[in-house]
């Protein structure tokens, strides 16, 4: 995953409100098709919520990894 070119980083660490998933939705809405987005979140719940939403709206979930004190989730806007 480290070789993948990231087009946009959404750093939602420390975001209680609107929170990581809302930040991701905002980012996906404003991104162009083909954009690779990484989401950084300190909330463990994001590791379930974000991939579930990405799949539900038909976008491409690429990968997820745990870093030091946060998670990194990568997706691509495909439509």
């Amino acid at each position: 995953m480290s070789e993948l070119k990231i087009d946009r980083t959404i750093d939602a660490r420390g975001s209680a409100c609107p929170g990581p998933l809302m930040e991701l939705i905002k980012g996906v809405k404003s991104a162009g098709v083909g954009t690779v987005i990484e989401l950084l979140s300190c909330e463990k719940g994001t590791t379930v919520d974000a991939p579930a939403w990405i799949k539900k709206v038909g976008q491409e979930f690429i990968d997820m990894e745990e870093k030091e004190g946060y998670w990194r989730i990568v997706m691509k806007k495909i439509k």
Partner: protein, 379 residues
């Protein structure tokens, strides 16, 4: 040498910052060693949380509007002349009239604006309460409403994140007062997989919704409104019919931000503690226009203004400052017509709603009147 501070934007963030600076730097303003210029696009200042109450006939429109000039310290120069370009490399703001405002320090407080046009069918099919005229139209529609399904839905991003929840609770009490609750279905929807962005608030709201008979659906992101057939369609592929639709419009930053190449969708890249614009140590950002992942709300702007005013004052008087923003946000949450709760949180402390009470509701109603003291930098 005179230090010139230019503040772009006359909302909560810009106004509080300007007035605090005028108080902190009073002597320097009198002596001509500091000049504070505010550039704004409107002569009036509107207390936007009041829109929620206008929709339910609880506040008159004229009660939430004051002249911007009357809110500002007399030593602050006010220019009602929209900024059209910010040139950070040459430290100048250019306004619609062509005037150039050169600065040593810049505060960007240009706020956010609703962009209902980003959702096809919004203008034709939906009501909202995020602008004065829209709130009045919604008030009129609610007065005529005699029953059916009212859908509340939420665009992303939006300011005042508790407002959709407050609206829903207040709607319940409004319909009850009008004796049409039993003829109405309230249907609340939310973009993420719970009732509110703040998890403790979401968990707190679930039993209250169930007790009040409010239906809800999550992971609901409106994509299109079919006004003719009265249907909302979502990014998730679902659709929902309505008799009256109350939709929180998505927001964007001010056009001047995008036109100056300062941030996508009008959000300015901002250091989360120092509140400086990335790469420009003499440019600060407060309020909705930051790209910080925190609530776009009046209290956020207010607490950020405290930090920016303190930082600028210390930088001008002593050459440096140690003041930092900790992510603090405070929100009252109306839970009906006679009770409210509140939450506060910051980057490190999660929110914890207190039990709703009449006292907190009265405090909120009191704050609706005291806001003008906040804007003046007194409260």
């Amino acid at each position: 040498m005179t230090k010139r501070i230019v503040i772009v934007g006359g909302g909560t963030g810009g106004t509080v910052t300007a007035n605090l600076l005028a108080r902190n730097l009073y002597r320097q303003l009198i002596d001509g060693k500091v000049v504070i210029n505010m550039i704004t696009d409107k002569p009036d200042h509107v207390y936007q949380p009041g829109f929620l109450y206008i929709a339910f006939d609880k506040i008159r429109p004229d009660e939430i509007v004051r002249k911007q000039r009357e809110l500002l310290d007399p030593h602050i120069n006010l220019f009602v002349d929209p900024a059209v370009r910010i040139d950070r490399d040459n430290n100048v703001v250019i306004t619609k009239s062509g005037k150039e405002h050169h600065y040593d320090y810049l505060v960007i407080a240009t706020g956010s604006k609703v962009v209902p046009e980003e959702i096809p069918g919004f203008r034709e099919g939906a009501h909202h309460f995020y602008e004065m005229e829209a709130a009045k139209k919604l008030r009129d529609a609610l007065r005529k409403f005699e029953g059916g399904r009212i859908v509340v839905t939420v665009g992303v991003p939006h300011k005042c994140p508790v407002a959709p929840l407050e609206f829903t609770f207040m709607l319940h009490d409004y319909l009850k007062e009008r004796d049409i609750l039993d003829k109405t279905e309230i249907y609340y929807t939310y973009p993420i997989n719970r009732l509110h962005a703040l998890e403790p608030v979401a968990n707190w709201a679930v039993p209250r919704f169930e007790q009040k008979g409010i239906k809800y659906e999550t992971l609901f992101n409106m994509e299109e409104i079919d006004a003719r057939n009265k249907v909302v369609r979502t990014m998730e592929g679902t659709e929902l019919s309505y008799d009256l639709l109350v939709a929180i419009p998505p927001h964007k930053g001010a056009p001047v931000i995008q036109e100056s190449g300062m941030g996508s969708d009008g959000w300015v890249t901002t250091d989360r503690k120092l509140l400086r614009n990335a790469g420009y140590d003499n440019v600060y950002v407060v309020g909705d226009t930051t790209d910080l992942p925190i609530s776009k709300a009046g209290s956020t702007a207010h607490f950020q203004s405290d930090v920016v005013a303190e930082r600028l004052t210390s930088e001008i008087l002593e050459g440096e400052s140690s003041s930092e923003y900790d992510g603090k946000v405070v929100c009252f949450v109306e839970t009906g017509f006679d009770e409210a709760t509140y939450v506060w949180f910051n980057y490190k402390t999660p929110p914890k709603p207190t039990p709703p009470s009449r006292m907190l509701h009265w405090m909120k109603l009191g704050y609706n009147r005291l806001y003008w003291l906040s804007a003046k930098g007194v409260l």
